[in-house]
Amino acid sequence: MTILGYRIPMMASLVVWCLVWEVLGRTGLIFILPPFSDVLAAAVQLVQTASWQSATVTTLRAFAIGMVLAILCGVPLGILMGRVKLADDLLGMWVNIFSSAPLSALVPVLMILFGFGEKTIIAAVFLFAIWIIVLDTRAGVRHISPSLMEMARSYGASQPALYGKIILWAALPEILAGIRLGLIRGVKGVVIGQLLVAIVGYGALFETFSRNFRMAEFWALTIILFAFAMLMAELIERVEAKVEYYAGARQ
Amino acid sequence: MGATALRNKPAPVSAPNDAIVEVRGICKTYGNVEALRGVDLDFPRGKLTSLLGPSGCGKTTLLKIIAGLIEADAGTVTIDGKPVKGPGPERAFVFQDFALMPWATVLRNVAFGLELRRRARAEREEIARRYIAQVGLAGFEDKYPHELSGGMRQRVGLARALSVDAEVLLLDEPFSAVDEQNRRKFQEDLIRLRTQENKTFIFVTHSIEEAVYISDRIVLLSPRPGRVSRIIEPEIDRSGDPDRIHRDKHYLDTVEEIWQGLKQYVE
């Protein structure tokens, strides 16, 4: 969109929506929607409270542990599936199923297996994030050009060198794309997990705010969460752009 | 340029005023790249005129301006005296990448121009079948584009352009995505088709051989900015065996002559 010859970035329209929100909130027609300025003020207040800070620490810790586990398990599994046909044949079906299944239905199972605490949240993050990482890694390994592999072999690369110096690097763009999508799903996992468990971290806060009708704080928390999700995706995208720089030249 | 074998002479057959398409003072700039500067050209009725030049000379841009698909920054194009404001029924375009609808059969693709003009189904299909046969695709009416070779797909594109019965056919490098053998066969067929259909052809190509082989007139464009550098009218007898043309001395001389002129633009 251009106005008076200036190209206005697409995301700038979000500002327009915030203004609409402000106006709608001021009219007071929608009772769950306080003015945007109130929400911002509530957000400033909120981040200073001890309950928010401890909830954030809990949430971030669960998210980080779950993601690290998902990456540590997902990438090797994806490489295995990309390299070994039998593994691909046996596991491919399940990875595909779980990557698009309503995993939130599994959270109750996690709750009874891991208790109503942080472990369940970690498991939820892991479960939400891992499948897309496996799928993308597998696709990346599959797309490595055969001549690159033959080159490595013809120069006498050992198996560890083949994996460490060729496969991992050649598949890196796809692996990173998988991790980015995995992060987005992981954020959803942490939120869904906490909402269902309802006594941990942000889930508990959401529960308190909505039960006590504290709408400004509810929205403030939502915005913080959304901003975090977008920020994560954006950061990984930056790294991806760097990697794709050489990946684009590899064809 | 020392043209000895051929001169830039006015066409002896067609009267100078019998131009169906007149291009006057066309300029076009993309950003800071000047694609065309002050192009004046006449395209005689019933002739095949090629626009030939190295890449970047604006030949496709000129063709699309004539087609009304691109607007010029300055200048006018008239068809039979009427100024071009956009696409019109008297012109039909053949696309470099065929522009066939992958979800439609050959028959529907060929009839598509008439479908857009809201002609009755039976009528447009009858016309389409006739032209499908004429371009040598009889029996392929119900095939989909992906089932055809590149050469056959472009035949569909040509049949579509013929079926709307336009006076002027605009062909944008129609054979560049067709493999060599099919291209040669197609060129022969185009020469044959020209004698059957009394139409004006404007043909963009970057192949010197192709231009000399099929054209009545060749307009050479020079690049950056695109302007007309010369007009050549090869006098080649195209009756009889088409293969003979490739060995014709006049054909070979003309190709060589044009190459010598264009060489300076090739890095």
Binding site: M10, L103, A139, L195 | M101, R117
Partner: protein, 274 residues
């Protein structure tokens, strides 16, 4: 911020039909698939026999529980109430999403104004909205339909938008050069050309809809499948609970496989030779 849109969404691996996994489990020989299922069942059975947890029933117990739930009618009636909001929500999202997406793809202003909202909704954990929905619409059918739509709409809008936006330009100028009107170019070129990607978006929308309805039933309205899960959890009937969860995952998988099959059957011929 992220102006280039990645379509991979909440649920479902691939947005554009041909990308990531043309693998699809349906390409594999039946035998391997059966072995794979058998292996999964065997591991489940062994894990249940050990047992890894008091709350981990064996595969055979779960299977028996599944047939028990089928026989006493609780599962069929639960599905009846779960599928209603799912179907309504997905159908509404399909119409609304394809409409919004088409407008965004056709109009620059619409694109500028609307697409960023859906990009945010796509990558943000919108599940947080579900408790809010209850606030406004109570715990009835409307709330569930809305939960489905919140999750399904973004992926449908973005896929449609992207498909319409990236329509084959050469076909468009072909249509224009043969005197097609704006409306003709939309109905005869843009929508048919975009339909494979739009359909892929609808498939992802269905996947997201399943997530939405399950979440709604677990979070806000104890009805349908969510109720069966919660009920059996509270009574510690773990086999029944696992059977219900497995059944909803199986149902969603079968639905998606079916949609993928339709996609391949209907849109395959034209995918070639592009």
């Amino acid at each position: 911020m992220a102006t280039n849109i990645r379509l991979e969404g909440e649920a479902g691996g691939l947005a554009l039909p041909l990308r990531r996994d043309a693998v699809g489990w349906q390409d594999r020989p039946i035998l391997l698939r059966l072995i794979s299922i058998a292996l999964f069942a065997a591991i489940w059975e062994i894990a249940g026999l050990i047992p890894v947890s008091f709350a981990f029933p064996t595969f055979s117990d779960t299977l028996v529980a599944f047939f028990g739930l089928l026989a006493d009618g609780s599962l069929p009636s639960a599905y009846l109430s779960t599928l209603q909001p799912l179907v309504v929500g997905v159908v509404l999202s399909a119409f609304l999403g394809v409409g919004i997406g088409t407008i965004c793809g056709l109009s620059r202003t619409g694109e500028w104004l609307i697409v960023p909202v859906f990009i945010v909704l796509q990558s943000a954990p919108v599940a947080a909205f579900i408790p809010l929905v209850t606030f406004v619409y109570g715990i009835g059918m409307t709330a569930k339909v809305l939960a489905v739509m919140i999750l399904a709409l973004p992926v449908i809008v973005l896929n449609t938008y992207k498909a319409v936006r990236n329509v084959n330009g050469s076909l468009l100028s072909m249509c224009r050069s043969f005197l097609g009107t704006r409306w003709q170019s939309i109905s005869k070129i843009i929508l048919p050309d975009a339909s494979p990607v739009i359909f892929a978006g609808l498939r992802l929308g269905v996947a997201a809809g399943f997530v939405g309805v399950v979440l709604a039933e677990l979070l806000i309205t104890p009805t349908g499948i969510g109720d069966v899960i919660t009920f059996h959890r509270s009574r510690a009937d773990y086999a029944e609970m696992y059977a219900t969860i497995a059944s909803i995952i199986a149902l969603s998988t079968l639905t998606l496989v079916f949609l993928q099959w339709v996609e391949v059957r209907v849109f395959r011929p034209e995918k070639r030779g592009r």
